[in-house]
Symmetry: C2
Subunit: 219 residues, 2 copies
DNA sequence: CTGCATTTTGACCAAGTAGTCAAGTTTTTG
DNA sequence: CAAAAACTTGACTACTTGGTCAAAATGCAG
């Protein structure tokens, strides 16, 4: 009975104390940093503990297994990461909706690159921890939005385009700037850090994709 | 003096025997499989040795360090992976050249997904082993092709588009199908394995990007 | 302020893993 | 067909790392 917040099996609500809240946050923040840089296997509990400013046994008091930290982190991140997709409004203007979606994704890629990398690494290695999430939550959401895009195409508001591949292209392109940051920097050099870079990126990506799917007269 | 292919310090040509050639190949093939799935830290020498069908000390006879296998593999892969970019012909028809480039990349993504993942994983984690390659070989090549694209834009043969972001978009989109394969499968299900899938993907990607950069009359 | 619950940690353990070594086996070569 | 060179491996070492544990320190309710 040494587990945190556990007095009797009956007390299901699992009351969390002030200290628990603080320390779990500290751990998860540190873990995001480390996991996103080194991957699951490449990360040691000691690294996370040091970054979180506590001893390893203390960290393990809050998350008894390394896996627990990782999974909690992924769950926490995924919802937030997918949110913009859910916001696509079937009744809005197609180009406007997609422009907004792409812009949001590019902004997230810049503001939370670690989240993007954490996710990319997980999927790259076969998504062992989140394959359930992919089929149970992601797929239905994508199916729904794909149907919306397909309707837009049917109504002639977009050029004929496969909605799934369009969504993949948006994901790939926007997340590329977080996931392949080192490569982007190696090629574009000092431009990357500069103030207007995000806007320049957004402009370029939007220009190609939106013009690529804008309805065309003949064919 | 237990290193392979090393008799005297003077014999620089490093003659390789028949057995060396066979076994190095065996090791590198096995290593590509394992490294691309589990990453550098996630891979054990024993795993590679078993897959290559030899004992661990024997493997270490050919590659004294784990790092050596990894770096050799990356170097071998990178040249091949970048080749299509070099083939873009400044004197060809822009749309044709880019169509060909994108098609080649999509085909490679399907035929050598492990190579794509190996590379993606390396870059995702900061490219510690290949940052030199990125700046010394990749950047100059990209700069050269970007200049070509910029010229095409200047001649009105392409819509105004930032050449670097266009190249990134092509990379991101095509490699997405290898790197995020699990996610693509989770969403598109059985379609992915089916015969025409690569063609369908190519068609969708080409349609969006090429229409996105085709010269437009007004603005 | 006291006694119980929660939190913290030093010391430790067991498993896993990169790399070594010396002794054997096979291949090549003169 | 020796003898040398190249190749192969079982047994081992040193080290890292996930996780345990018991005891100490701290927080907190009455």
């Amino acid at each position: 009975m040494t587990r945190a917040a556990k007095k009797k099996a009956s007390e299901t609500p699992e009351k969390t104390t002030r200290i628990q809240e603080i320390n779990r946050r500290l751990i998860l923040d540190a873990a995001l940093d480390v996991f996103s840089n080194y991957g699951f296997r490449g990360t040691t509990i000691d690294q996370i503990a040091e970054k979180a400013g506590m001893s390893k046994p203390n960290l393990l008091y809050y998350f008894p297994r390394k896996q627990n930290i990782y999974v909690t982190l992924l769950e926490e991140t995924l919802a937030e990461w997918l949110a913009p997709l859910a916001e696509i409004d079937a009744d809005g203007d197609p180009i406007e909706q997609l422009r907004n979606y792409i812009t949001l994704k590019i902004n997230m890629s810049e503001s939370h690159p670690e989240a993007s990398r954490l996710f990319a690494n997980e999927v790259l290695h076969g998504a062992p921890a989140i394959s359930d999430f992919l089929t149970k939550h992601l797929k239905p959401l994508v199916d729904e939005k794909a149907a919306v895009i397909r309707r837009w195409v049917g109504e002639g508001k977009l050029a004929p385009v496969d909605p799934y591949h369009l969504i993949f292209m948006i994901w790939a392109t926007t997340q590329h700037y977080a996931d392949f940051d080192v490569q982007v920097r190696a090629i574009m050099g000092s431009q990357v850090g500069r103030p207007g870079f995000r806007e320049q990126t957004a402009q370029a990506v939007l220009s190609i994709i939106l013009n690529g799917i804008r309805p065309r007269p003949v064919s």
